[in-house]
């Protein structure tokens, strides 16, 4: 990213929307839509149905065993006892069988929902314009996208079906309890508000405590990351003791808030256990009084206490899953904000494919700003004729990279026109344009894949022969064949197992495979050894041969042979012309050029008096 976009990003960084209670249900609904809407609706309803029917089996069991107890206490027959018990066992088997089917359905729906959400998100991101990516550091976007969709995933995979099951179970159990004995139901329900209040209270305390703990964990791992990857600095400055002390203090904070978070959340466990025990006591107590009063039988009371137990567990499940759900809503909100993002650069409705006619590029009074009101390019006008090499020079932030960004239409201009072979850039499809304009970027980005696949990446219909041919012309063939598996060698993350120079040669070869008609080169500033440098330069020359090319130069030596050198300063083209013309002008370019040689230029050019300027 250029300095100009970097500074532009500061004012438009996406601040996460503040928590709003009001959109909780709509967001949750949108999350559930992936699991229960569209094609999934039928299967979702089926799963809910199976779940409900299965639960009826479970709920029959206390009643059936209650009947068995009545038989036992009333001194009934053994076969009658066996009948009720067998019925209960059958109900149990039925419950387990249907649970298996239903849970499989839910798990399938959940994972499909996740897959759809992930691919939707990814596919949508592909359509977004570069302005979206420049607006925030990629790392931030990445962690948002991955952490947020994982929060939603946890909801799909562990919470959704459990909550559905818990709700059905509560409704069914309550219904049965009311049918058996309204008095006992009231007695059993006495503890429910306590349970809900206490679990939510625990949640209210523990969930910010966990957030605090995450924050402290972030601090310590950040410090450890910084100080261990910077161990050379720590060691050479003899600050190991200090680092140990800082770490100690940070670990102490983690201990403090971690203990608090874990302890409060673990309190849930004893609270639920105690309250369910109390619930049983109340049911038995009230039941006992009712039995003494002759209003009910012991069997009913026992059965009822069984139901009370079946009510307790789904209640605590719902309380336990509330944080998962809230996290999913928070994550979902951000995922949907990305999904609702619209691309800023869109093809015109009547856009036509770009037709190459030699590569004539005209900038006509082009103004551009990343942020309204802060012009990065001012009235840029120039003409590149077919096959010309255009050098772009100037201090950092002068707008060199920006010219490239708008030429490839990653951004649209504010005013003015860009004509390419006489066709207005805005009237063309982005795809056709970018297929014809090759870009070799400063940072040699390679994918974690084989060398060959990295080359094949450049063009959908490229063959392996094309790639090898390109590699040869880019001077990359020799070292590639010397790699352990030649063209099939895996690049480790971002090509870390190759030298920087080698990675650059591969990117040049990749651009050759694409065989673009126009070329943009952002010259690398990296230091490579002399031999490699020479090979790279040869590769670039082969690549740009006969093509209209734009070269952003950091060392002036690479653009000396340009047909036109555009000298940019603060968004304006302050000088333009060939090297010799510009040198003769003794202006901005001249000063820039002379400062490189520190008075030791070849050919004895006397430059000791030239003012150094800082770029």
């Amino acid at each position: 990213m250029t300095a100009s976009t970097a500074s532009a990003s500061k004012s438009t960084v996406n601040v996460p929307a503040p928590e709003r209670k009001s959109d909780l249900l709509p967001v949750l609904g949108r999350i559930m839509e992936y699991m229960s809407g569209g094609q999934a609706r039928g299967r979702f309803l089926l799963a809910v149905f199976l779940r409900s029917v299965g639960l009826i089996g479970l709920i029959l069991m206390p009643w059936l065993t209650g009947q068995a107890i009545n038989v036992a206490t009333a001194g009934g027959s053994g076969s009658e006892l066996a009948m009720w018990c067998i019925a209960a066992l059958v109900a149990g088997a039925f419950y387990l069988a249907l649970s298996t089917v239903a849970e499989r359905q839910f798990a399938d729906l959940a994972t499909r929902a996740l897959e759809n959400l992930q691919t939707n998100l990814f596919n949508h991101i592909q359509t977004l314009s570069l302005s979206f990516f420049d607006r925030q550091p990629i790392g931030e976007l990445l962690s948002r996208v991955t952490n947020d969709s994982e929060a939603v995933a946890r909801f799909y995979e562990t919470a959704a079906s459990q909550i559905i099951r818990a709700i059905i179970q509560i409704v069914l159990v309550l219904f049965v309890m009311l049918v058996i004995s309204p008095e006992l139901t009231v007695a059993a329900m006495v503890v429910v508000p306590f349970m809900l209040i206490l679990t939510f209270a625990v949640e209210r305390i523990s969930s910010p405590a966990f957030a605090k703990m995450q924050e402290e964990m972030g601090k310590i791992s950040g410090f450890q990351e910084e100080s261990i990857s910077g161990h050379k600095v720590v060691t050479s400055n003899r600050r190991q003791e200090w680092a140990g002390d800082v770490n100690d203090e940070l670990a102490g904070s983690v201990f403090d808030v971690g203990s608090q978070a874990f302890f409060t959340s673990l309190l849930q466990f004893p609270l639920t256990t105690s309250l369910i025990m109390v619930m049983t006591v109340i049911v038995l107590f009230v039941g006992a009084l009712l039995v003494l009063d002759g209003q009910t039988t012991l069997g009913v009371v026992i059965a009822f206490s069984g139901y009370a137990a079946l009510l307790g567990s789904p209640l605590s499940d719902i309380a336990n899953l509330s944080s998962t759900t809230l996290n999913a809503v928070a994550g979902g909100r951000r995922v949907f904000s990305v999904l609702d993002e619209q691309p800023t650069v869109v093809d015109a409705p009547d856009a036509v494919p770009y037709e190459f006619k030699g590569g004539d590029v005209v900038f006509d009074n082009v103004d551009f700003s990343y942020v309204p009101g802060r012009k990065i390019l001012k009235q840029n006008t120039f003409h590149a004729e077919p096959g010309m090499k255009i050098g772009l020079v100037g201090p950092t932030g002068a707008g060199k990279s920006t010219i490239i960004n708008i030429l490839t239409r990653y951004y649209d201009t504010d005013s003015g026109r860009i004509l390419i072979d006489g066709q207005d850039l805005r009237s063309l499809t982005q795809e056709s344009l970018r297929e014809q304009i090759g870009v070799v970027l400063q940072e040699a980005f390679l994918f974690t894949d084989t060398v060959m696949n990295n080359l094949l990446y450049a063009r959908a219909d490229a063959t392996k022969e094309d790639c090898i041919e390109a590699a040869k012309r880019a001077n990359a063939h020799e070292f590639i064949t010397n790699l352990p598996q030649g063209y099939d060698t895996m690049m480790t993350e971002r090509g870390a197992n190759l030298s920087q120079g080698q990675r650059q040669m591969i990117t040049i070869a990749r651009a050759m495979v694409a065989n673009p008609k126009l070329l943009v080169l952002d010259e690398a500033t990296s230091n490579v050894d002399t031999r490699t440098e020479k090979l790279i330069q040869e590769g670039i020359m082969a690549l740009s041969e006969g093509k209209t090319s734009f070269v952003i130069a950091h060392r002036l030596s690479t653009v000396r042979d340009s047909a036109i050198i555009l000298v940019l300063n603060a968004g304006e083209i302050v000088e333009s012309g060939s090297h010799d013309e510009l040198m003769a002008q003794k202006g901005f370019y001249y000063t820039l050029y002379m400062s490189q040689f520190k008075g030791k230029a070849p050919g004895g050019a006397e430059s000791g008096t030239a003012d150094f300027i800082s770029t």
């Binding site: 209960a88 088997a93 990516f133 990629i138 050479s236 670990a251 302890f263 006591v281 002399t530």
Partner: protein, 590 residues
């Protein structure tokens, strides 16, 4: 078994009392839960069936009390479990990190930063979990089982076997399911990493994707990864969701069986109904702890593996250590002569083998106050050479002396105060600018710091910041440009006022004008200090009187610019490629 975790027990020696209390609490909560169930028997037999209202009330009160006791005791266990697990985390994080601080460069080469960080994070977390669950849950099920067995033997000996059967069935089912859950989660995590990596590559390479118009390929690639995630995610989601209904179902089925078997005995009057109901409560009470125990075991296994990995780091010895009779090297007495005598040095690979030598037979003397440049391509051995002076590594052959004293004979702390090195990667730390500049010498005067910054050409941009010397520095210094970071890094080195200044390619991100300003400032600031400039860029050394030219680990030539231009072909090539290539091609074109 659990060798590494047991090795950790030494941490808990001072807390043995607390450990015992935690398990006593656990035991109390087990007794209270089961006693409450026993009381049901009394409530039914002597209360309901005998029609005794007073017994009913009294028993109910007792049961409520037991519920409270059980809850409190459990909370007590939880408290200690958290104390022990978080305390372990604190202790291990600290001990391990301090150990890492004693490491030499070669140790870091062996372990790698990322690897150490994983151990400090994920592995410590695994050990914390293992401790938490062990303290809180491991003995709960055995306690419950033993007490339930005793009570059942007392009251309903004819049904005890069912307790055993249920315990075995639950454990067997758990033994079957839990490892699958863990495996499913591991698989899921691996696939998820794949998904996330694909996303990461796509986002970091988005310009390449767009430049080559390959969005469709990316979508296809990601679609495959996301689809691959579904299978393990399904297994994990299903198994976890199924556990709950499974345990509920088993509980109810066990109860039905018990009522059947017990009901027959009630009918034949060998058992009363209260006893039977109580027994069904025992059954219900042991199932959950058994399931929990089954869940704890894999956590403990995982903790053991992690503990092993932690000890691997903990047991590593720093490769560079002070001699027991190391002598002090007082800063003010050092003149600054650096001599390499027949030095041969090779890096060690992680497997312990030596790489081919990075330096071969180096002989070099830098006189006090001299300024020399070291020039060469990547891999020529320049950094290796200067890293030996502050003894970041030890040589295999030969020796390096400062004022004639072998660097291995002095204390590392003293040595590194004498030798200041600004490293290739200009890394800053989170904090203020002042903190960063005084990083190596916290007691330095502000005036020294400011002059150091002036010499490194950092004074200007620092004082332009609103907070000036107190301006915040983000992690790794990311809020400053590469050139600013390098200047701050040099200022940091200079603020320590070392007698030997090494700038290891630390002007590479600066433009030539700034670079030469810094070079001309330094001698005035660090009066009489020996200065060594390491560079790939010829402009960084072109003005120096003495340029050491390196190639393939050897010194191939030495002299000033004019001399080397005359006699060294390598030097000419470097010069041509860096300053003259454009001229050559321009000539060719013409």
């Amino acid at each position: 078994m659990f060798k590494s975790l047991r090795r950790m027990l030494v941490i808990y020696r001072p807390y043995r009392g607390k450990l015992i209390i935690s398990q006593v609490f656990l035991f109390i909560s087990a007794i209270a839960s089961l006693a409450s169930a026993t009381l049901q028997q009394r409530l039914i037999n002597q209360g309901i069936e005998a029609g005794n209202e007073r017994v009913i009330i009294a028993t109910s009160m007792w049961m409520v009390l037991l519920a409270v006791v059980a809850g409190l005791a459990m909370a007590g266990t939880a408290y200690y479990a958290v104390f022990f697990s978080q305390g372990t985390g604190y202790y291990v994080r600290n001990a391990l990190y301090r150990k890492i601080q004693t490491f030499s460069f070669a140790n870091f080469d062996q372990f790698r930063t990322g690897n150490l960080l994983v151990r400090l994070n994920a592995d410590v977390q695994n050990v914390i979990n293992a401790v938490l669950y062990t303290v809180m849950l491991l003995l709960y099920a055995p306690f419950m089982l033993v007490i339930a067995f005793i009570l059942a033997f007392r009251d309903t000996p004819s049904l005890v076997w069912m307790l055993l059967v249920v315990a075995i069935v639950v454990l067997a089912l758990m033994a079957l399911i839990i490892p699958r859950v863990f495996k499913a989660y591991d698989d899921r995590q691996n696939q998820l990493d794949d998904v996330n990596n694909t996303m990461q590559e796509n986002l970091t390479g988005i310009r390449v994707v767009k430049a080559f118009v390959r969005e469709r390929l990316e979508i296809e690639k990601f679609g495959q990864r996301a689809a691959a995630l579904r299978k393990p995610a399904f297994a994990a989601a299903f198994l976890v969701a199924f556990l709950n209904p499974l345990l509920q179902g088993i509980g109810q089925i066990a109860r039905a069986l018990a009522i059947w078997v017990g009901g027959e005995q009630v009918l034949s009057a060998t058992l009363n109904i209260g006893e039977l109901i109580t027994f069904t409560q025992y059954l219900a009470l042991v199932i959950t702890p058994l399931a929990l125990m089954a869940i704890v075991v894999p956590f403990v296994l995982r903790g053991e593996t992690s503990a092993e990995r932690l000890f691997e780091v903990y047991d590593a010895e720093p490769t560079v250590q002070d001699k027991p009779d190391a002598v002090p090297l007082p800063l003010e007495q050092v003149k600054g002569q650096v001599t390499f005598e027949n030095v041969t040095f090779a890096f060690r690979r992680p497997d312990g083998q030596l790489d081919p030598p990075a330096l071969k037979n180096i002989n070099l003397t830098v006189e006090p106050g001299q300024r020399i440049g070291i020039l060469g391509a990547t891999g020529a051995g320049k950094s290796a050479l200067v890293n030996l002076i502050p003894r970041f590594y030890d040589v295999q052959e030969g020796r390096i002396t400062i004022d004639g004293i072998d660097v291995r004979d002095v204390r590392q702390d003293d040595l590194r105060q004498v030798v200041g090195i600004a490293l290739q990667e200009a890394l800053l730390f989170q904090g203020k600018i002042r903190f960063n500049l005084k990083f190596g010498s916290p007691d330095a005067d502000d005036a020294v710091m400011e002059n150091g910054a002036r010499a490194a050409d950092a004074h200007g941009f620092i004082t332009n910041l609103p907070e000036k010397w107190d301006a915040p520095v983000a992690r790794r210094g990311y809020n400053f440009s590469g050139g600013q970071r390098q200047r701050l890094s040099m200022a940091r080195t200079l603020t320590g006022q070392p007698r030997i200044v090494i700038l290891d390619d630390s002007t590479s991100a600066l433009d030539v004008a700034t670079e030469s300003r810094v070079q001309s400032n330094i001698p005035a600031f660090s009066q009489g200090a020996t200065t060594i400039y390491v560079a790939q860029r010829i402009s960084a050394v072109i003005d120096l009187d003495n340029i050491v030219l390196m190639q393939y680990g050897e010194i191939v030539d030495m002299g000033n610019h004019e001399e080397l231009m005359q006699r060294s072909q390598l030097y000419q090539e470097i010069y041509e490629s860096q300053l003259g290539a454009g001229m050559m091609s321009a000539r060719e074109v013409a």
